[in-house]
């Protein structure tokens, strides 16, 4: 992603649904993978669609960008798979722990102190006397805590950190990029040079220094520190994307009209221009969530992130690696759950990009 130049984005205008040669109706479902449709200029597509619907005697009725994107997304099997898995994991993380507590009496932090024989690591689906049991489908950890409840609880924190930190980076990145792009000139130059410099910094290293130096006493405090740290280092690419968008938008008529009617500059930026950059921003944000979750896991794994008694997938994996030789399930379950979630989020992000912006199909 190294071109900051203006990118042409057609999303402000209605778009025809299919891009088959003039006058013919689509004979097969047009998939976003189809190389032919990528290079059709959007104006031509609109014209075609208009001509066709006019031929059919209908009024010109464009599908909205979002309807169009949603349909394209549903055609992408991998993206749908991602969407379903992400939904399942999120719902399980939200309602799972209380349900497990209802069913088995194990909350994520419950240590069976009333029965010493239970304070040890049981393999998956194994009861206290080695027989088959449904109580712990993922086994237990060293303290006899239920792994399934802990993995779901950890998922809550991991997803939460991913989403909140992404919002922080959205806030910074979109504002920065929009201001830089809209005001332009020397200010733009200085602001983007600053981004270039930040780009070349070893930011994870700086984050580790930050987190280890300002280590909070309470887990909540550490969590907030984590949001700020992760959010404030992941806005750079977003700022560049938004700036590129704004550069191509700011000379369009609707901005001129807003300016002519005396709308203030901040209002033009945030009410008129920013909403029009939403497509690429959503795509990039979806791909940022797994990145941030991975960084959070990495930091927690090293002991700088989420602090006990709170746990995330990263810190669960860090605990599990201590016992990898004897109790591998302590690492494998949090690790595989995390990998599956990231895998699905990545597919969903890729699918969204293809759906919202077929021209941006890269990597």
């Amino acid at each position: 992603m190294n071109d900051d130049g203006p990118v042409d984005h057609p999303e402000t205008e209605p778009k025809g649904p299919a891009l088959t040669p003039l006058g013919t109706l689509p004979t097969r479902p047009v998939s976003p993978q189809d190389p032919d449709i990528i290079h059709v200029p959007p104006e031509a597509a609109i014209a075609e669609a208009d001509v066709r619907s006019a031929e059919r005697g209908e009024g010109i009725k464009g599908t909205s960008l979002w309807e169009d994107a949603w349909r394209r997304l549903l055609r992408n099997k991998l993206a749908v798979f991602g969407l379903v898995v992400v939904a399942i994991v999120t719902v399980a993380a939200l309602i799972g722990p209380p349900m497990i507590q209802q069913a088995t009496g194990y909350s994520p932090d419950y240590i069976p102190t009333n029965n010493v024989k239970l304070i040890k690591s049981f393999p998956p689906f194994t009861g206290p006397n080695g027989s088959f049991s449904w109580t712990h489908p993922m086994g237990t950890d060293n303290a006899g805590r239920d792994m399934l409840a802990r993995v779901l609880q950890g998922g809550r924190i991991s997803l939460f950190v991913g989403i909140i930190s992404t919002l922080v980076s959205l806030l910074i990145g979109v504002s920065y990029g929009a201001i830089s792009g809209y005001l332009g000139g020397r200010l733009d130059n200085v602001m983007m040079r600053f981004v270039d410099i930040l780009y070349s910094l070893p930011y994870v290293i700086v984050v580790i220094v930050l987190l280890s130096m300002f280590r909070r006493q309470t887990p909540e405090g550490q969590l907030i520190l984590l949001f700020i740290a992760l959010g404030s280092v992941s806005w750079l690419t977003l700022a560049r994307i938004v700036r590129g968008q704004v550069l191509s938008l700011k000379n369009q008529e609707f901005v001129l009209a807003a300016r002519a009617t005396g709308v203030s500059t901040p209002r033009i930026i945030f009410r008129h221009i920013v909403p029009n950059t939403l497509g690429p921003v959503i795509v990039y944000a979806t791909l940022t969530i797994p990145q941030i979750m991975l960084t959070e896991a990495f930091l927690s794994f090293l002991g700088f992130g989420v602090q006990a008694p709170k746990s995330s997938w990263g810190s669960l994996a860090a605990d599990g690696i201590q016992n990898i030789a004897i109790f591998p399930w302590q690492l494998i379950f949090p690790g595989v759950t995390m990998a599956l979630t990231l895998f699905s989020l990545n597919f969903l992000g890729d699918g969204l990009r293809d759906a919202l912006d077929p021209q941006m199909r890269k990597v």
């Binding site: 410099i197 910094l201 990898i324 990597v363």
Partner: protein, 313 residues
């Protein structure tokens, strides 16, 4: 040779920006360490005040903050001297870096080479046979590589190859060409293989549709010739520009891998130093990493210019 001259000017201009950036990084790190509550001596074992006072005097920690900052910076600028580690008594920071760098560099460079070879091969095959079974398979594997965190992959590899099959040693440094390197390098390279494969595929797909490839084909060149001599050169541009960021990620990746496999590399020392609040060592390692990154980025830009005749300064 006006082109070379222009390039030289570009390099010098970039270096002029690079040096202040490094100083800013050092200052930022120094400031972070100083702003944070507590210090190296506020650990679990409390020192008697008289002894702490003596030590503080020895390291100049009793002076005013600007004096300390000035001394630190002067040492770095003048002699490239980051001082002595607080934790590892009597060991200079430079010596610790010189000792641990080869470990990290060996793992990192081997991992990068491996991921280049595998990634470019897989990506090219996927692009040449777009939408085939090969394409889908390699891209699915690549996505898996991006999604599985290295701290999950590493222990699983250890579990399989060391603790179950007894083929490879599970951890520790064993000198440069040794079997101990295999698992760390595999663990570290998985993500980059995946990224490079995806980048190569995307770059190649774009290039294969371009006019000059059609021209090459219509001239009757063999397919091998078209791909190797023409398509790869253009198609690999995204991979080249990824080299800079890759080095940054490689550095953070080695932190985890060195932790998992107990390797005495730069990353392991950095984590220890951060936990110990070993100020000179933290600053030394951060500065070193920043320098390495910035120089690498510069090299990538130069390489870019050589490979892509359209880039001009």
């Amino acid at each position: 040779m006006p082109v070379l001259l222009k390039m030289l000017r570009f390099i010098i201009r970039r270096l002029i920006v690079t040096i202040p950036t490094i100083l800013v990084v050092i200052t930022l790190t120094w400031g972070l360490i100083r702003l944070a509550p507590g210090n190296f001596y506020s650990g679990e074992k409390k020192l008697p005040p008289a002894i702490e006072q003596n030590i503080r005097e020895k390291y100049g920690l009793d002076k005013a903050w600007y004096e300390q900052y000035g001394r630190t910076m002067w040492g770095i600028v003048r002699h490239f001297d980051f001082g002595t580690s607080l934790k590892y008594e009597g060991q200079s920071v430079n010596w610790i870096i010189a000792r641990s760098l080869p470990v990290s560099a060996a793992v990192g460079l081997l991992a990068y080479l491996l991921s280049l070879v595998v990634g470019i091969t897989a990506g090219s095959i996927a692009a040449l046979k777009q939408n085939s079974r090969w394409d889908y398979a390699s891209m699915a594997v690549a996505m898996l590589g991006i999604s599985v965190p290295n701290f999950v992959l590493g222990p699983i590899l250890v579990l399989v190859f060391s603790l179950t099959l007894y083929w490879l040693p599970p951890s520790r440094w064993g000198g440069f060409p040794s079997r101990n390197l295999i698992l760390p390098v595999l663990t570290l390279s998985a993500v980059y293989m995946a990224y490079i494969a995806r980048l190569t595929r995307a770059g190649m797909l774009e290039v294969l549709r371009s006019d000059y490839i059609r021209t090459a084909r219509s001239k009757g060149l063999t397919e091998t010739n078209v791909v190797i001599r023409h398509a790869l050169r253009g198609g690999l541009m995204p991979v080249v520009s990824y080299t800079g960021p890759a080095l940054a990620f490689l550095l953070t990746g080695t932190v985890v891998v060195e932790r998992i496999f107990a390797l005495p590399g730069l990353g392991n020392y950095f984590i220890q130093a951060s936990l110990n609040r070993d100020e000179p060592l933290i600053i030394g390692i951060v500065a070193f990493i920043a320098i390495a990154l910035l120089l690498m980025n510069l090299l990538v830009d130069i390489a870019y210019a050589f490979l892509d005749p359209r880039v001009r300064y």
